[in-house]
């Protein structure tokens, strides 16, 4: 390793490029020089997307068209980017989603029938009203012409009674329809999201340990949100709207086929534009949703990191970043706005013009004697009634499409194949033996190069080594998280990765990230290690780590809710909870990774007793980065570059005068 000359280090700014010798290793320095300049400083929103100030109307329209196409391309790129599985977990295909939703709906067959029936009846009752109004007009006109005032008045009374009855029926069925569709939407949604969470909880151990959680977090927040809106609101409304549209058309035709022509023809013409819209809108809305979660992420970082922003003087920088996100989001909004405007241009005409045409046709029909005033009245009322449901249909279908896209990402989680198959062998004893261990995260790049290690029962082995030396990987192999590429890790003669997960957990536990306190009761937080344990066993585990006293003093004892948004624990108490879990899990071998913060320096000294309780009588592998941990171990393995460079007790290694001895001298001098 080349070292920086201290005089160079102190006034780096004054050093010219010619005499600069990078302190970094050669390969790193080359990479640094190659990647320092980013090449392009593209603005968040390209110049072409900003409208020019002065131009003729013709130029403006063609510029708007160009911008619209550019925005369309950006939306396509965004969707292509988020919808591929490059970043993490796989994505299911649309067919699978349709099958999945179909399956859920078929479980609720009775409800589906109820929704359809109630809606059909409510719509029919509603559609009979204009028909009766039309007939009333005709009969009144006939009565008045014939001078039968009393009959006309009686007709008005009886028609009013009938319509009033219909209104009551419609109102009752509306209630039933809305109610049943809510129940259906909510229950399909609940089943779907519970399925997704179960799938997450089945993800293979090796996948969970090696992958970053970012992708998964986005899926359980943003994608579940989009799916919810779609299933809870858009899907039922789409069903209702399509039933209403179909029935309205039927009612129109049965009133007068000719007078229904304007609506049907114009609606058919509008469908071309609707199809265009539906082909593009989902991508637009997905992009829009993406820009909003980006805004949210940036703001979260700014608020949570407020102190860092203040300390480093990043106010202007963060402000700029937030404003850029909003600019980008604004462009996505402009795209969907234009899409909608193009749709409205056609739809508004297609749904308001029929009224004019019906009146015209009606006038002709009345003159020629094939249409009555009542039919004209009814036809006009129907043309007005068609607009609402059709508009609703278009806007719920696009939401459903967006929901399907999100659901493909959610169902993708369930398609991850398992990483192991449980065999039949059961360990004959607690001895852990690793032979010829090699492992690669990327093919061809082994991080371990043939490690042999056997642990005798009750032994304490410390693994030390610089970061990147492979000691954490070794820990994962020894605890059965990953299977080795070559070689084997066995416990009592049986391969670790061939044990069922429940069994594995009682043999070896890897202790990482232990400060995580789950949202749930104290009991839940401890019992997770051995589900089905009694309260007494939980209390016993808490007592063993000296945590029972304060747990019992909590407002609701074991039932007190912990975790984000509830009772907050100090880091020390959180770690006691973590230790109690392990006491309850009771594995005979424990792999401790100090680097992943089981030992928070702020609290560690209060935990000696608790730790003691956990480790007594177990075999312990400690991946140590504090040297006194190593000092106290029975044996120390110094891992460097994926190999065991030194192995022996503290005294032996100090005598060997190698890597460990040098470090120890630095520590104690």
């Amino acid at each position: 390793m080349s070292r920086a000359d201290s005089t160079v280090a102190t006034d780096a700014a004054g050093v010219t490029r010619a005499e600069w010798v990078s302190p970094l290793p050669e390969q790193l320095a080359a990479e640094s020089a190659r990647t320092w300049e980013s090449g392009s400083h593209a603005p968040a929103v390209p110049e072409e997307l900003r409208p020019s100030e002065s131009a003729s109307p013709g130029e403006r329209i063609s510029a708007l068209h160009r911008r619209h196409l550019l925005r369309e391309r950006r939306a396509q790129e965004f969707v292509a980017d988020t919808m591929n599985a490059r970043t993490g977990l796989p994505i299911a295909d649309n067919a699978r989603v349709v099958r999945f939703i179909g399956g859920l709906l078929s479980q609720e067959r009775v409800l589906v029938v109820a929704v359809i029936l109630a809606n059909a009846l409510a719509a029919t009752a509603g559609l009979l009203v204009p028909r009766l109004l039309g007939e009333l007009v005709d009969s009144t006109v006939a009565d008045v012409e014939a001078g039968r005032v009393d009959a006309a008045l009686a007709g008005a009374n009886s028609a009013a009674l009938v319509v009033a009855g219909l209104v009551v029926v419609q109102s009752a069925f509306t209630f039933a329809a809305k109610m049943s569709s809510t129940v259906l939407g909510q229950s399909v949604l609940a089943t779907a999201r519970e399925y997704v969470v179960r799938a997450i909880l089945r993800l293979p151990l090796s996948r969970v340990e090696s992958a970053s959680s970012g992708d998964l977090v986005t899926r359980v927040t943003r994608d579940v949100g989009t799916m919810s809106e779609s299933v809870r609101w858009a899907l039922p409304e789409a069903i209702i709207a399509s039933i209403t549209v179909v029935l309205t058309l039927v009612a129109m035709v049965s009133n007068s086929p000719i007078l229904s022509l304007p609506s049907i023809v114009l609606m058919a013409l509008a469908l071309f534009q609707v199809r265009r819209y539906l082909g593009r809108a989902p991508k637009g809305y997905l992009t829009e949703g993406g820009t909003y979660s980006r805004i949210n992420t940036t703001l979260t970082e700014t608020v949570e990191g407020a102190r860092t922003v203040e300390a480093l003087g990043l106010t202007g920088h963060r402000l700029h970043r937030g404003d850029d996100d909003i600019e980008v989001s604004g462009q996505a909004e402009r795209y969907t706005m234009t899409l909608r405007n193009l749709l409205f241009a056609v739809m508004d005409v297609a749904f308001s013009l029929p009224r004019v045409l019906v009146l015209l046709l009606g006038a002709i029909g009345y003159a020629q004697g094939w249409a009555t005033l009542g039919q004209i009245t009814t036809a006009i009322l129907y043309t007005e009634a068609l607009w609402g449901p059709f508009d609703m249909l278009v806007h719920t279908v696009d939401r459903v499409q967006v929901g399907i896209a999100s659901t493909t990402r959610l169902l993708g989680i369930a398609t991850v194949p398992p990483d192991r198959e449980a065999g039949d062998g059961r360990p004959a004893g607690p001895e852990l033996v690793g032979t010829d261990l090699r492992y690669a995260y990327r093919t061809g790049h082994d991080v371990l190069h043939g490690i042999d290690l056997d642990l005798s029962t009750g032994e304490r082995l410390a693994i030390v080594g610089p970061s990147g030396s492979g000691k954490s990987t070794l820990g994962r192999l020894l605890s059965g998280i990953h299977g080795p590429r070559t070689g084997s890790v066995t416990v009592g003669g049986v391969e670790l990765t061939s044990l069922p997960l429940d069994q594995l957990r009682t043999e070896v536990a890897l202790v990482t990230q232990e400060h995580h306190v789950f949202i749930g009761s104290v009991r839940d937080n401890v019992v997770l290690a051995r589900e089905g344990s009694t309260d007494d066993e939980v209390r016993e585990a808490l007592r063993a780590v000296d945590a029972l006293d304060w747990v019992e003093r909590l407002p609701e004892g074991l039932d007190t809710k912990l975790g984000s948004g509830h009772q907050v624990l100090t880091p020390g108490r959180a770690q006691q909870i973590a230790l109690a879990r392990l006491i309850l899990a009771d594995p005979h071998t424990i792999v401790l990774d100090e680097a992943t913060s089981l030992i928070d320096p702020r609290t560690a000294r209060h935990l000696e007793g608790s730790m003691n309780a956990l480790l007594t009588g177990r075999t312990v592998v400690a991946i140590a980065h504090r040297l006194h941990t190593a000092h106290d171990a029975d044996r120390i393995a110094v891992v460097i570059g994926g190999r065991v460079a030194e192995l022996g007790s503290h005294d032996e290694l100090v005598d060997q005068d190698g890597e460990y001895a040098a470090l120890w001298r630095a520590w104690t001098s």
Partner: protein
């Protein structure tokens, strides 16, 4: 006319207009005023949009009476053409209305986000001490959206009110009885419809808050997935999630029940109105007081008027929700920074001694000082004081969310208690910020220096620093001021080679949000690299290597002194590997400096120091120590 995204200068530019946060309603009014001419343009478009619907039925009636029934094709054509013109006119204005409303909505939404961003930046670390992050974020997201919705619904409600009055006037001009019916029915329907809104909104609120708890639970499961898959607990937490998911479903169904009731009562009431209109109209036709065409047009109005009535109910609903949202926004935006600008700002002389009154510690300029404390919180508090940060334990978070069980008076009482707690908190902070601070640099108390000046010269890197998403280069060099040489030096000193290696693309490699994907040790060295690269006159590092392994820590320790040569550096630590390289070490006991000197001398002379440094203290007890002792 204003367009989105809006330009917002409040809170960051001195003297820029700030929103009116005296009350929620004042804030909403300020929001509306922000739109200026745009609001009136939107209203005009909405009014034009209403024209075909208001005069359409009347024209249809005229066409029937003077054209169709009278058998006059010319009159029919005349009215049909008039209707066609009005209809197309309305269709076009629909697009204009939509465009303007989207603008107004987004100005409100983006404007709110920008205000929250600026407020957060203005308050800095003070905000996160007072208000839960989630609540700050929801003001920017869902509350901002609510303000957008309010712009839309108020424009629509006003234009439909106008349409409603015009229709009432048209009907009144033909038949007094029916005109009165139209005039009376709308207020009556709104009055009858609104009582159902209250339970519906309550359940919707319950559903929202249960759902956000559900989302937290899902995020929590993902966050702790390593434990759940490693140690177990899939059944417990899968079950808990399912339980909460069912509670969300139940509240959703309850909200849906009231929504269904609102809808069905709406159908009933508006249907009743149509029946009354029809009955009265037919009778008047029978008695010869009304023509057929007029009856047809009235029936058209009957169906049309359902729309304004629904809009009024919707307005009532969204208005209530907007006031709630505005209250939340005001709770965030009305907070003021506790700091005051000193009357005569003194200049910070960083080449002088720093003296902390509370601990009695003296930091000599230009050297590497390390502070050892048996209680790490004491040294962290010292770091906060040197950097002029309000200590994080002084104020507890005050949430604005109140438990769902509380209703009516109890809820109001709880809410005003929270408001008082917030005020109390603000008062305490202001009091603390205005007193002499207790840390002097060259004899000048920090309270006499502009805060910006303190931040510029003294950098405190605390124990929970934020790593921002972006390229590695932007993480190390956010302001784009570094040369590559400087960056490489910082990378070298922080021994962050493996961070560089871990990201494909070197300096241009992308970090995930909060540096997720890096290990704790990698993140810590990234932060150290960033602090070194910022190159402040005074650098205070709090436990900069607590998650770093001994090998790497030894490397950092060897390089730190040379990197910072000639400038003041303070490191809070108890690691012998670091202390070994300190120019001076200060020992804190009970928060008070009791000894100082070189590491080797203190080790030899001070038993208290020895007990902290050699075993325990910051480094923690050896996990194996006791057992090792027992077994020997």
């Amino acid at each position: 006319m204003r367009d989105f995204p809006p330009q917002i200068r409040a809170y960051t530019d001195r003297g820029a207009e700030a929103p009116d946060t005296r009350s929620p309603r004042a804030f909403l009014w300020w929001m509306v005023r922000q739109n200026g001419v745009l609001f009136w343009a939107g209203l005009l478009a909405a009014l034009v949009w209403m024209v075909p619907q208001t005069v359409g039925p009347w024209m249809v009636g005229k066409a029937i009476d003077t054209g169709i029934v009278a058998g006059d094709p010319a009159a029919t054509m005349q009215w049909v053409l008039a209707l066609a013109v009005v209809t197309l006119f309305g269709a076009c204005s629909g697009i204009i209305f939509h465009t303007i409303i989207v603008r107004e909505w987004l100005i409100a939404l983006y404007g709110t986000t920008k205000l929250v961003t600026r407020k957060a930046l203005q308050l800095g670390h003070v905000l996160t001490r007072r208000t839960p992050t989630g609540e700050v974020l929801s003001v920017s997201g869902s509350d901002g959206d609510q303000f957008g919705a309010l712009m839309e619904i108020s424009t629509r409600a006003i234009s439909q009110l106008a349409a409603y009055l015009v229709v009432a006037a048209i009907v009144l001009g033909t038949s007094v009885r029916m005109g009165v019916l139209v005039l009376v029915s709308a207020p009556l329907l709104v009055v009858l419809g609104t009582p159902l809104l209250r339970p519906m909104q309550r359940w919707q609120g319950v559903e929202r808050s249960r759902n956000s708890e559900l989302t937290s639970m899902a995020t929590d499961i993902v966050g702790g997935l390593r434990i759940l898959r490693g140690i177990g607990g899939e059944e417990t937490f899968g079950g808990n999630y399912a339980g909460q998911s069912q509670r969300v479903r139940q509240s959703g169904v309850s909200a849906g029940r009231w929504l269904a009731a609102v809808e069905s009562v709406g159908v009933l009431l508006s249907g009743g109105f149509v029946v009354a209109l029809m009955w009265l109209g037919t009778r008047e036709v029978a008695q010869g007081q009304l023509t057929v065409g007029q009856l047809v047009s009235f029936l058209g109005y009957g169906l049309f008027l359902i729309q304004p009535m629904r809009t009024f109910v919707e307005f009532a609903q969204k208005w209530t929700r907007s006031v709630v949202s505005a209250r939340k926004a005001v709770a965030v935006l009305s907070q003021r920074p506790p700091w005051v600008h000193p009357d005569e700002p003194a200049v910070l002389d960083t080449s002088a001694e720093i003296v902390d009154g509370e601990s009695g510690a003296t930091i000599r300029p230009g050297i590497l000082t390390m502070v050892v404390s048996a209680v790490p919180d004491d040294s962290a508090a010292l770091a906060d004081r040197i950097g002029r940060y309000l200590h994080s334990d002084e104020g507890a978070l005050v949430s604005d969310e109140i438990p769902e069980e509380l209703k009516g008076r109890a809820a109001r009482r709880e809410r005003s208690a929270r408001t008082r707690a917030r005020e109390e908190q603000a008062r305490r902070d202001e009091e603390r910020a205005r007193q002499p601070w207790g840390v002097t640099v060259g004899g000048i108390d920090l309270s006499r220096v502009e805060l910006d000046d303190v931040r510029r010269h003294i950098l405190v890197s605390d124990t929970s620093p934020q790593v921002f998403a972006g390229s590695l280069r932007s993480a190390v060099d956010p302001l784009g001021r570094l040369t590559r040489e400087q960056a490489e030096l910082a990378l070298h000193t922080a021994a962050a080679d493996d961070v560089f290696d871990a990201l494909p693309g070197g300096w241009q490699g992308e970090l995930e949000e909060r540096g997720r994907g890096l290990s704790g040790g990698q993140r810590q060295r990234l932060v150290l690299m960033r602090a070194l690269a910022a190159d402040p006159d005074v650098l205070v590092l709090v436990e900069p290597t607590s998650a770093v392994d001994a090998h790497t820590e030894a490397r950092i320790a060897g390089r730190l002194g040379a990197h910072r040569a000639g400038r003041t550096t303070v490191v809070m630590t108890a690691s012998p590997l670091l202390l070994h390289h300190a120019d001076e070490v200060i020992l804190l006991e009970g928060g008070v400096a009791t000894a100082h000197g070189r590491h080797a001398d203190l080790l030899a002379d001070s038993p208290a120091y020895r007990s902290v440094v050699v075993r325990g203290g910051d480094a923690g007890p050896s996990v194996l120590s006791h057992l090792a002792e027992e077994s020997r």
